[in-house]
């Protein structure tokens, strides 16, 4: 079995890549992708924990998280399409209407 420490490191790296992508990228689609990556880092933890403790509920939780991540992206894409229709852009740099 893979030691839990290794899984923690990999999932930490995945989470950090996702976080960095969310902060650096300006395209909404890539931002959604980064969020997906962060959620999958959490899934990795849940599944590794499930194997470590010999219980199935971590894997079940991971399924729920997958569903929620999919819904999140669906809503995100819908809003991105809405934005593209009105502004012809999905670049976060261009959305600066609200400020003060």
């Amino acid at each position: 079995m893979i030691p839990i420490g290794h899984v923690l490191i990999v999932s930490g790296i995945l989470f950090s890549i996702g976080l960095a992508g969310l902060l650096i990228r300006r395209n909404i689609l890539l931002i959604l992708l980064s969020i997906e990556l962060m959620m999958n880092a959490a899934n990795l933890l849940l599944i590794a924990g499930s194997a470590l403790h010999g219980e199935a509920d971590g894997q079940i939780t991971a399924f729920f998280v997958m569903v929620i991540a999919a819904v999140e992206v669906t809503v995100g894409l819908a809003v991105a399409v809405l934005l593209f229709r009105t502004r012809q852009t999905v670049d976060t740099y261009d959305i600066k209407w609200l400020k003060g």
């Binding site: 839990i4 899984v7 923690l8 999932s11 989470f15 996702g18 976080l19 969310l22 909404i28 931002i31 959604l32 969020i35 962060m38 959620m39 880092a41 959490a42 899934n43 990795l44 933890l45 849940l46 590794a48 924990g49 499930s50 470590l52 403790h53 219980e55 509920d57 971590g58 079940i60 939780t61 729920f64 998280v65 929620i68 819904v71 999140e72 809503v75 995100g76 819908a78 809003v79 991105a80 809405l82 934005l83 009105t86 502004r87 976060t92 959305i95 209407w97 609200l98 400020k99 003060g100």
Partner: protein
């Protein structure tokens, strides 16, 4: 297994299904009036079921779902808030005509369903799912006005930052699961008590708390609030500022005083600092605002700061004060946004300048806004004063003098910007002189909210008894 404990949720779910099938069968032609009738019946049944369940605590689904007096308090709170918001969105959307309101009500109800589950969660999986049902509904509601660029932009910003907060929470839950081997609150509390210094546990607690601080818009996770409040449709802002914030605080209370109790020492360092930063940021940010919704966004950040004092102070006095403050804040905010949704279509602007001379155009609306704003500022005979007094005295009793001092010094600043709106309504000449007609049902609900503000200010003990009753299990 005790299914009757979930009666309010069953009723909410049933109402949701009826709405969905009605929408599918009738198609876009469906009239909205019967939709609101279903929703109001649903709310009435919901409140009735909560009334019957109020004295029968218990748990279901293997202890992952609990119904205690705390949960019942918040469920009644959310149902009443949803009722006011439903009625106000009816007035907000009616003159717009073009928007399809049936879907709006449906998604709003979905958010309510999420909140009902959220306050009963006793397991991190249920917590996460319920939180996501609520937040995802709010993303859609925020971007609901498809033709309005501000609404879409607010939706995008809320979605990106909200998903970030969700990712933090679920990563924290994943870490907890690796260490504790369960997502149940009780076993995680046992794990915390067994190894209080465990680095991964501390990290996961921090991740989950920062995700929840995002939901309540506490500094440094507040950046979304002003933009979303400015862009989103008025009824959505009302539900966001009352429902979403209360849900966040309900979760914070439950987690901090049950699961995270071994971190009591850290709590007493972390929360006073958060509270102080939030009060200062919110109040200073609101001073320069020209848009009333943006101003209320900053003001809601400031109120989050006061509510956080309740978490920073000692448990007994702090929690009661927090719930009292939450009630007074909700009454005032619901009244303000009710007025805004009635005036939005007449004034066609959210700028404070547009409110010039409102007192001449509609003395009733102006007077309601006047009382609600003064209550938010904490002017003596009104409910907001009692809330602020309880919160600040809880801070003083816990020897947090500096925090109480910041809270007191912020009150004149908040009076300055609230009085700016009031001056504009009463002392300046109106642009248009046509009077605004207020429907009778709107007058009734607004009148009840204002009466609530006045009564909770004059008679503290009945409200305090409700709050104490809600906290009896803590």
């Amino acid at each position: 297994m005790n299914f009757s404990l979930l009666l309010p949720e069953w009723i909410a779910l049933g109402t949701l299904l009826i709405l969905i099938f009605r929408e599918i069968l009738n198609g876009p032609k469906s009239r909205n009036s019967s939709g609101i009738a279903i929703l109001l019946t649903g709310t009435a049944l919901l409140l009735l079921s909560l009334f019957f369940l109020r004295n029968s605590p218990g748990s279901a689904f293997g202890g992952t779902f609990v119904l205690d007096s705390f949960a019942v308090f918040f469920k009644i709170f959310f149902s009443l808030a949803a009722f006011v918001v439903l009625v106000s969105s009816r007035f907000f959307f009616r003159p717009l005509g073009g928007e399809k309101t049936a879907e709006f009500f449906l998604i709003l109800w979905c958010a309510l369903l999420g909140m009902l589950f959220l306050v009963s969660a006793n397991d991190f999986l249920i917590l996460f799912i319920a939180l996501e049902i609520m937040t995802l509904s709010f993303y859609i509601l925020t971007a609901y006005q498809k033709g309005n660029l501000a609404s879409i932009e607010a939706g995008v910003k809320y979605l990106i930052l909200g998903s970030l907060a969700s990712a933090f929470i679920i990563y924290g839950i994943g870490l907890l699961y690796v260490v504790a081997g369960s997502t149940h609150f009780d076993s995680i509390q046992a794990a915390f008590a067994a190894q209080p210094g465990h680095k991964l546990l501390l990290l996961s607690a921090l991740l989950i708390l920062s995700g929840l601080c995002f939901k309540v818009a506490a500094v440094p996770f507040q950046l979304w609030a002003p933009d979303v409040y400015e862009g989103a449709p008025v009824p959505v802002v009302a539900f966001l500022s009352v429902g979403s914030k209360a849900a966040g605080f309900a979760l914070l209370i439950r987690l901090i005083f049950t699961v995270f109790t071994p971190f009591d020492h850290e709590r007493k360092i972390l929360f006073p600092v958060l509270a102080a930063m939030t009060i200062i940021y919110g109040n200073l940010g609101a001073v320069v605002q020209k848009n009333i919704k943006r101003l209320l966004g900053f003001s809601s950040i400031a109120h989050t700061g006061y509510l956080l004092i309740g978490l920073a102070a000692a448990r007994d006095s702090g929690l009661a004060a927090l719930l009292y403050y939450l009630l007074t804040y909700a009454l005032a905010n619901l009244a303000i946004f009710f007025v805004l949704s009635l005036t939005a279509n007449e004034l066609k602007s959210d700028q404070i300048d547009a409110f010039r001379g409102l007192a001449e155009r509609s003395p009733f609306l102006a007077a309601s806004l006047f009382i609600a704003l003064l209550s938010l500022a904490g002017v003596p005979p009104l409910a907001g004063f009692v809330g602020k007094f309880l919160i600040l005295s809880a801070a003083i009793r816990d020897h947090l003098m500096w925090l109480a001092l910041i809270g007191i010094l912020a009150i004149p600043i908040s009076l300055y910007y609230y009085l700016g709106v009031i001056r504009s309504m009463y002392l300046e000449e109106p642009v248009h002189t046509a009077s605004i007609t207020v429907p009778g049902s709107a007058k009734l609900i607004l009148g009840l909210l204002i009466t609530g503000i006045l009564l909770a200010g004059f008679f503290q003990s009945p409200v305090f008894r409700i709050v104490e009753n809600a906290l009896q299990h803590f």
